[in-house]
Amino acid sequence: MIELKYYLLISAALFSLGVFGVLTRRNAVNVLMGVELILNSANLNLVAFSRYSSSGIDGQMFAVFVIVVAAAEVAVALAIVLTLYRVLNTVNLDRADVLKR
């Protein structure tokens, strides 16, 4: 059986990649993809811990909820990206700078 630590390593890598994506990308949709990586790294952790411990399926249940909330979050975020695109004609975050004074 694959050891727990490999799962944790992968999830840590996913988390770091997600944070990196969020910090470096200027396109709003790409930032949202980074957010998805962060959420999925937490999911991987939850499921792996749940599989390797004797605590039942609490972690897997949590992961299912996270997947649902992530879907809702992306729906709202994409709607906001769309309305922003209608006003600005771009989804580049550097152009959304009226509020920075």
Partner: protein
């Protein structure tokens, strides 16, 4: 005592009423085309008032958990439920005669307001990591939409975009922290987490992991409470959002964030010991929060000094107030927690009041710039005096309610012997006085050459302003009931 699913329903009326209210508002928005603009606010108000009534009637005896340990029902949760419902009612009344929201269809606004209030009530009593996450996301998702409610307005859209990106990342980080905590303890229930942490010795790798958990979860709670260094969204979002929404965000989700923070740290990561709590050894998380608190109030106050946009200035001021409120939470004593509750209670009236004056002035002047407030005293003495009282209260000048909050907080800090912490707080209050006074100076002393045209205020807005002024003035006299109520409200399930 742990109640099962069906037995819990009798203690779940406020949430059920709000849920029913959301559905009714959505239906009436579709079905009653002609009447909906009159019916929807009334339905929303009725749902909030009924929920408030049910909350006040709740007699739960001793603290207990509902729904198989998912929610905790205790006096602490009840305090926040009352607080959040009152905030919801005041914001609803304040949004009715707001010119900013007049241009858009408001059906969803009422449903969203009810939904976000429902989420906050759940936040105040979650005792399980899943509930904590779900209620936090319910509040976040609905407030993202509320911030971006003015769809054709560039600022509103931009604010909403920034809000959702910051929010998604910080709640994602919080979730990663939760998953690590689950790995360490094998449980998602806060009380089981505490027991598991007490059973093992937190050293070596575990210590590092727990520190990581504390930092990552603080990111999530810090985002909700707008604490430094998770505050970057705050000035932009507060400036871009419709002013009633800004007023709401600066009070209600912030308070709910503090409720969830206290619940997580005091129920999960510390154990009750007599009159106070002891943090679980291994990670000195109160120190982390003290640093956050000092940074929050200092940075908030200093950044507010140079602002010329009133909404932006009040945004920074609300960051600074989050720092003061956090002071009470990190002391781990009953008196500290009580001070936090008193501060939150007076903060509700003074901050909502200040934002509400800004809304009223925007209604006729269409501006948030400080220069345009010149000569306001000659144009509407009532408005200028009201604003001055709210601002003096925010500073903490004695006859007004804000003084009570500052008194309790600094008293609790000095009780614990943290003199330097109290000194930092007092210095900050002095800095804050400068920019609050600056607003008053523009309104009262500086006049422009234009002839003073009287400012129109609708009757509803005038009544609401008086409603908000009264607590600011009389709370100092009726101090004893507040003292008793908050002293009662520090009982946490599985705590003191």
């Amino acid at each position: 005592m742990n109640l099962g699913n069906l037995d819990s329903l009798t203690f779940f009326y406020p949430e059920l009423i709000l849920l029913g209210g959301i559905l009714l508002v959505v239906i009436s928005d579709i079905a009653l085309k002609g009447l909906r603009n009159r019916v929807n606010p009334l339905l929303t108000l009725a749902a909030l008032l009924l929920a408030l009534f049910c909350t006040l009637q709740t007699d739960h005896g001793s603290a207990m958990t509902l729904f198989e340990g998912m929610l905790a029902l205790d006096n602490f949760a009840l305090f926040f439920k009352v607080f959040l419902l009152v905030a919801g009612i005041l914001v609803l009344l304040g949004s009715l005669h707001s010119e900013e929201l007049a241009s858009v269809h408001r059906g969803e606004f009422h449903a969203l307001l009810l939904a976000v209030t429902l989420g906050m009530l759940l936040m105040a009593n979650s005792a399980h990591l899943v509930m904590l996450y779900l209620s936090l996301e319910l509040v976040s998702l609905t407030s993202y939409i509320m911030v971006g409610y003015l769809r054709s307005d560039r600022l509103s859209n931009e604010a909403s975009m920034k809000y959702i990106l910051f929010g998604a990342v910080s709640t994602g980080a919080m979730l990663y922290g939760f998953s690590l905590l689950y790995g360490m303890t094998g449980s998602l229930d806060l009380f089981a987490i505490r027991d598991a942490l007490l059973a093992q010795e937190v050293v070596g790798f575990n210590q590092v992991t727990l520190l990581l958990v504390v930092v990552l979860t603080t990111a999530g709670f810090g985002f909700k409470t707008a604490a430094v260094p998770f505050h970057f969204w705050c000035p932009d979002v507060y400036t871009g959002a419709p002013t009633p929404v800004t007023a709401f965000l600066s009070v209600a989700p912030k308070a709910a964030g503090f409720a969830i923070l206290v619940r997580f740290f005091l129920s999960g990561l510390s154990q009750p010991a007599g009159e106070q709590w002891r943090f679980i050894s291994g990670v000195d998380w109160p120190l982390v929060l003290i640093v956050v608190s000092v940074l929050t109030m200092t940075l908030g106050n200093i950044a507010a000094l140079t602002q010329n946009n009133l909404k932006r200035m009040l945004a920074y001021s609300s960051i600074a107030h989050a720092g003061y409120i956090l002071m009470g939470a990190v002391l781990l004593t009953g008196s500290g927690l009580k001070a936090m509750l008193v501060y939150l209670f007076v903060y509700l009236f003074m901050n909502l009041g200040a934002f509400f004056v800004v809304t009223v002035i925007f209604n006729s002047e269409k501006t948030f710039e400080l220069q345009d407030y010149n000569g306001m005293f000659r144009r509407s003495p009532f408005l200028a005096i009201a604003m001055s009282i709210f601002l003096l209260s925010l500073i903490g000048i004695p006859p007004f309610a804000g003084f009570l909050g500052k008194l309790y907080i600094f008293g609790a800090v000095i009780d614990q012997g943290l003199y330097w912490f109290a000194v930092v707080g007092a210095l900050n209050a002095a800095v804050a006085a400068f920019y609050y006074m600056r607003i008053m100076k523009h309104m009262i002393l500086e006049n422009d050459d234009r002839p003073p045209t009287p400012l129109r205020i609708s009757t509803l807005n005038r009544a609401l302003l008086i409603l908000l002024l009264v607590p600011n003035i009389v709370l100092i006299v009726f101090w004893a009931p507040i003292d008793r109520w908050t002293a009662n409200s520090i009982t946490l399930f599985g705590g003191l």
